[in-house]
């Protein structure tokens, strides 16, 4: 594993060199639809309305960030024109909006569209049109598939690799565990679940004593927790979104169930999950992260965090800083700006994909120290490193090494 990873690293470094030299040689300006001497048109699709409207804040933060970039002179003198549409998290609407962006607004790329079903709905279309579907906002594993979908690229660590890391931790530190799982019954929950079972391997069947799923439409998950407790499980794999995660943590404390509690990264925010659920009830929960948690006091004096706060003060003052999506959006927007800068004057769609696939050890202010963005022609999973952490007092304590858990698509 280590060897192949190093080889890939060397390969991507070579590719980056090649890209750098070739873009230097072709200094003349080249544009595809959506780019010009003055403007780069970026499309985006977000659920501003409907059941997933909580994520709309991602689009708003990105818009604010591009405003900042434009105010500071743009990218190589070009202003970003950010066109963001609402799909209400409904795949048919996503198709309509993606086509509107590509055919009517004529954007250069579609950046960071949110959700696994919406992205799946447009993936084939985007690839047949050869328009980049760049840094999609979902942790599904299937976005890392450059062979079949060379115009689609993921961004964050994928769900499966995260739960594999927990599984390996359990195998090592608690091999006789009796595991209870609670997961959300949708693509996100099932992906996490699969990673977890794969990570446990042959022992999955004997170790997992109970699996419970819930629907987002359920008001509470209390009865699932009751059932998990009565199963006698001593390890709890908690694959839930923020509201349900907070409910689970609180209910655990109320009914006095104290398993070794693994919480997925989706709900690891102190401000929007742990604090509402209660610090006392959250002690010793294990999770993992790749982003800094803005509500965690340990980053108060961190340079990246200070820059983030300054950006929000000036361009998005009404943002809720406890919302993990704000940090996420800031980081991915920085990633895009990095790629666009690297493109220089060659703003063709092909070059954007090429540059996006040639990121080498990029460090961004919002990422944990040591977590770096890396891509190559065969690795379309930009961030694949996370670090484990345990909740102590009022803050997450990072422990262990930076872990890599690439799962192929």
């Amino acid at each position: 594993m280590l060897v192949t990873h190093m080889r890939l690293g060397a390969f991507s470094a070579a590719l980056a060199l090649l890209a750098a030299s070739s873009s230097g040689a072709l200094a003349q300006k080249k544009y595809d639809t959506g780019a010009s001497d003055t403007e780069i048109k970026i499309g985006n699709i977000m659920p501003y309305s409907g059941p997933a409207s909580a994520y709309g804040v991602i689009g708003k933060t990105e818009e604010a960030y591009f405003k900042k970039i434009n105010a500071e002179g743009g990218i190589n003198g070009r202003k970003i024109n950010f066109v963001s549409y609402d799909d209400a998290y409904s795949p048919p609407k996503t198709v309509e909006q993606a086509r509107k962006l590509v055919e009517s607004d004529e954007v250069l790329i579609v950046f960071n569209p949110l959700g696994t079903p919406p992205n799946t709905a447009i993936q084939k279309y985007m690839n047949s049109k050869k328009v980049p579907q760049l840094f999609v906002a979902t942790g599904a594993t299937k976005w890392n598939d450059p062979k079949d979908f060379p115009w689609t690229m993921g961004w964050q660590p994928n769900y499966q690799s995260e739960t594999q890391i927990y599984a390996k931790y359990i195998l090592k530190h608690k091999p006789d565990a009796k595991i209870g799982i609670l997961y959300q019954n949708d693509d996100y929950g099932k992906d996490y679940l699969k990673g977890f079972k794969d990570g446990l391997g042959a022992k999955a069947a004997s170790m997992i004593v109970v699996e419970e799923s819930y629907e987002v439409s359920q008001p509470t998950i209390d009865s699932h927790i009751v059932k998990l407790k009565s199963s006698g499980a001593d390890v709890f794999m908690n694959i839930t979104t923020p509201k349900f995660a907070a409910q689970a943590i609180k209910k655990n404390a109320e009914i006095g169930w104290k398993p070794l509690h693994f919480l997925n990264n989706v709900s690891a925010s102190i401000g929007s999950v742990i604090k509402p659920a209660g610090y006392e009830a959250s002690q010793d929960i294990i999770s993992s992260a790749y982003l800094k948690d803005p509500t965690d006091k340990q980053w108060e004096k961190d340079a990246g965090m200070i820059a983030w706060n300054q950006f929000l003060d000036k361009y998005y003052p009404e943002a809720n800083r406890a919302d993990a999506s704000v940090m996420y959006a800031y980081t991915v927007a920085q990633g895009l700006v990095h790629v666009l800068k690297a493109c220089g004057d060659d703003l063709t769609r092909a070059n954007i994909m090429k540059q996006a696939a040639s990121i080498k050890d990029l460090e961004l202010g919002g990422l944990l120290p040591g977590v770096k963005v890396n891509t190559s022609a065969t690795d379309f999973a930009p961030i694949s490193q996370v670090q484990l952490m345990k909740f102590k007092g009022e803050t997450w304590e990072l422990f262990g090494e930076i872990l890599t858990g690439d799962v192929g698509g």
């Binding site: 609402d86 409904s90 009517s104």
Partner: protein, 338 residues
């Protein structure tokens, strides 16, 4: 609680629409048809796609209109029939390699059967109770589609990607344009058939039930049969629309067929005018374009803007597009007299 049973002379929930008022005049129909036939030649593929979706949702609204406007039964569960139609087409195309055009009648028949069966228990329910039963169906459908048991065929939570058909016989037109005309022909066919259905013996039976169920049964109308039949027909048409939707969108997933879709279709019917079949396309335009307008006005408040626009429409024309058409007709009549 009081022991005495309440006796109510209840006004029918759906007002009586005479059957002639349910359609458009021949002249107007031809103008609309000509506009629908010619428009795609002048617009971008993306607009053609939107127009295809317009026709598809119009079919689904029409189906609801037959059920509610025709037979007086209220449904918030149309998304379930739409989903079954969409999945039927998608599964037949992707797993069995069937031609897309052949999947549609199958989707229609399966949905007809589904609607007919669902209509049986629904027979005993009316008003809010029927609303809840159909609502329950709409809520349950995405969960059924996700069920591990069917995952092999449905693709579970991941959904199924569908291949878009090319124009046949080497016709020189884009996939979008072909699909548009294909949809248009089906939509016209179903529209004409629906009008004829409502004018037929069955249609009169539907309307008799809508206006007064007890009187209808006293006159010898088989209430149970016709009520379930209305459910079946409505579900069948919705299923065809769903199948077309799956082909046009090239993707089916549980998230596409939630209760939101059922509510949208319901709004489409109200905006178009309950019981007025041509209004279906107006209602469909409302549910496709008004969210886009709302979003254009404000991203953060798109939901609120949509709500305000909806209120405006129902304040101005509580009877929907039908009211506009009727006013226009009266004004035309006056002009002619002068």
């Amino acid at each position: 609680m009081s022991a005495a049973e309440e006796v109510v002379t209840e006004a029918p929930a759906i007002e009586a629409v005479p059957k002639r008022a349910m359609t458009l005049g021949l002249g107007t129909s031809l103008v609309v048809l000509a506009a629908l036939a010619i428009a795609p030649l002048f617009v971008k593929n993306f607009i053609i796609f939107q127009m295809t979706m317009l026709l598809i949702y119009a079919l689904a609204v029409l189906a609801l209109n037959i059920l509610t406007g025709g037979s007086g039964q209220f449904s918030l569960g149309q998304s379930a029939f739409y989903a079954v139609g969409a999945y039927t087409s998608a599964i037949l195309m992707e797993h069995f390699g069937m031609n897309y055009a052949l999947t549609l009648p199958i989707a229609g028949v399966i949905c007809f059967a589904f609607g007919f069966v669902f209509g049986q228990p629904a027979l005993r329910l009316s008003g809010v109770y029927l609303a809840l039963a159909t609502f329950a169906l709409a809520v349950a459908m995405p969960q059924l589609l996700k069920l591990g048991f069917f995952e092999h065929w449905t693709g579970g939570v991941q959904g199924l990607v569908v291949t878009k058909p090319d124009a046949p016989f080497g016709l020189p037109m884009s996939q979008d344009m072909w699909l548009y005309y294909f949809t248009l022909v089906i939509a016209i066919g179903i529209y004409i058939a629906s009008i004829n259905l409502l004018r037929s013996r069955s249609g009169r039976a539907f309307m008799a039930i809508r206006d007064n169920e007890i009187a209808a049964s006293a006159m010898g109308v088989d209430v149970a049969l016709y009520k379930t039949l209305a459910f079946g027909v409505s579900a069948g048409i919705t299923g065809v629309a769903g199948g077309l939707g799956a082909i046009a969108v090239q993707f089916v997933a549980p998230d596409g067929y939630t209760i939101t879709l059922a509510i949208s279709l319901f709004l489409g019917m109200v905006v178009g005018g309950v019981g007025w079949l041509p209004g279906s396309i107006v209602g469909s335009a409302f549910i496709i374009f008004v969210p886009n307008i709302a979003e254009g006005i404000s991203k953060g408040l798109s939901g609120a803007v949509f709500g305000v626009l909806l209120f405006l429409v129902i304040f101005l024309v509580p009877h929907g597009a039908r009211q506009v058409a009727m006013v226009a007709q009266q004004m035309l009549g006056k002009l002619k007299k002068n």
